[in-house]
Assembly symmetry: C2
Homo-oligomer: 349 residues x 2
């Protein structure tokens, strides 16, 4: 275990912990004394019909979802809905390589899949809150991968689904890309196969990963317009790479990111139907709104559109932040305006 | 110096060498006994009006330009034109880190710019062949960067210009991307600041670079359609990454690629006009055909189109190989059909 205050309530804001006990994973392994971090907003109504589950993305925690997506000014309005934000497993906040005691600590933390996340979240929702049907499951990027998993694995429980900037099956393009992120970290000798003394020892590899993210997660338009000045307050390209990208990842735990990458790289709901994506997505009964980001180099709109075409009655709404994938974090005011508009449309359906 | 047979005529095909003597570089440094590798096809006419200069891209040499772009079936037809293919400096074939003797060998090879390439090529064209005006300068990617440099630095000498999949000034997006390639190599301890015993010692770093290239130089459509099966004969994603991308770069010299990256990352014709791109491109008198590749993640069509808008009378022709930037290598038959059609149109103008 490593004491990393970045994942503490002091940095992440207040959250609660749901004790899962021993969680048997899809791999067959067991995660001992597993914990799921969550935070709730609003009140569950008597019919338990107003619950919204919000999932988290790669490197993100419940905090960014709370800060950017949830509030009375948003579609995810706690005055109307009972909003549950849940941190994915391996996020640093829920059970993760750095906060799990031996013999499952750090490099010995078990390998996880998106299916394990949804299995754990299913227990949180049903056992803790007694919710039998979710009014909406929504999340972006890896969070969107969890939305797809929910909609296919538990169709009767998901009334509405909103995968933002995500696909139902990871593309081969992204599998290669995520591997470049993984190699940036694991090639650092100080990573030491996962047995480092502090996350900062792996700073070189983390910095290389941050730059690869910089090159791919932001659009060419973002760079062309030097939007780090207007939306991020940075003065130059180097200032942006160092002051935003490297600084963002620096406090994080390398094994946490590697754990998430493993899941990201393998997300694929078609495994519920023997590899047949059309059959898997055809099982979705949720009212689904597929919401790609217009300039997204990870989950390009044409791939999201292909998913939408396989989901009965799905609507496609393309969000237009010119930043690309990182637009998810809501830097551009127009981004949340569009998200709220489309989610409100979905919630009214 | 390193004996690397990859850069020998046995692998690269026959080429000639033009002795530049001591080449004073834009940096102020001097490259001693500099050499430019070139190969010619066809015959220079009496008026010396039928000369076409073909430049090379990152990691490429004259061989791929000869094999893919030049021939009686192509617009670059040796029966009509005197075609000169010239290897860029630092390419491994022209003067380069691995083939230059001490004291300028390997890590001590001078830093170059695209302007140095064009200065050296200018001497080849004028001193060796006595050509005062080139009917066409054409090249792709870094080759296209050289085309822009020619058209801006020597407007009176360039009758026609065809930059393929290139921009006149490197985008900030690509500057970040190229840095991830550089870091993949330089983070390999066996690179040893440029002082390795053999290129194969740096295999880990080169392999990481190859994968980053794989993730960015091919389009999402290429991956989605698994086009490595149809156009490259590979059986799977791993087979493609290992058998095409890693295998392609493995025989190359790491310092050669780093030398080229340095130039690639800094290409910018606006320096001829104090940083004013519009003024620099406004000086072009060549009939220019700007030819982006439709799915190019390096030089996206909208950036090429912006350049075209600044060049007097420029035509824009978008080539459509769904592979993305790597389409340049002509894997898709329809690619060269389009290139030939547009170059023929330009040559007839």
């Amino acid at each position: 275990m490593i004491e990393n205050t970045f994942y503490s309530p002091a940095v992440q804001g207040e959250f609660k912990t749901f004790e899962l006990g021993d969680l048997v994973l899809a791999s067959g392994e067991t995660l001992r004394s597993a914990k799921l971090a969550y935070r709730t907003f609003g009140t569950l109504n008597a019919e338990k019909s107003n619950a919204i589950l919000v999932t988290t993305w790669f490197s993100g925690t419940g905090k960014v979802m709370q800060d950017v997506y949830v509030g009375t000014a948003h579609a995810l309005d706690p005055e109307r809905y009972f909003v549950v934000i849940v941190d994915q497993l391996g996020s640093g906040v829920s059970s993760s390589p750095q906060n799990t005691p031996p013999p499952q600590s750090m490099a010995k933390f078990p390998t996880l899949g998106i299916g394990d996340d949804v299995a754990a979240q299913h227990r949180l929702v049903t056992e803790l809150f007694g919710i039998e049907r979710l009014a909406l499951v929504v999340g972006g990027s890896m969070g969107g991968q969890q939305v797809y998993e929910w909609a296919v694995a538990h169709p009767a429980m998901v009334e509405r689904a909103a995968p933002i900037a995500a696909t139902a099956r990871i593309s081969l393009h992204q599998r290669v890309f995520v591997e470049t992120l993984r190699e940036a970290i694991t090639s650092d000798p100080h990573w030491n196969k996962g047995w480092y003394g502090t996350n900062l020892a792996v700073r070189d590899g983390m910095d290389r990963m941050a730059r690869i993210m910089a090159a791919h997660a932001w659009s060419s338009e973002f760079y062309q317009d030097e939007r780090w000045r207007s939306i991020l307050g940075m003065s130059s390209l180097d200032d942006f790479v160092n002051g935003v990208m490297k600084a963002y990842f620096e406090p994080m735990d390398p094994n946490v990111l590697l754990c998430e990458m493993h899941k990201w790289q393998r997300a694929d709901v078609s495994r519920h139907a023997g590899g047949d994506l059309a059959t898997a997505l055809g099982r979705i009964t949720a009212k689904t709104m597929v919401m790609p980001i217009s300039h997204d180099g990870f989950f390009p709109p044409h791939e999201c559109e292909a998913d939408a075409g396989l989901i009965p009655g799905a609507r496609l709404r393309v969000i237009n932040p010119t930043e690309g994938h990182m637009g998810l974090s809501g830097f551009e005011p127009r981004y949340m305006e569009q998200v709220d508009k489309y989610l409100a449309e979905l919630l009214a359906a």
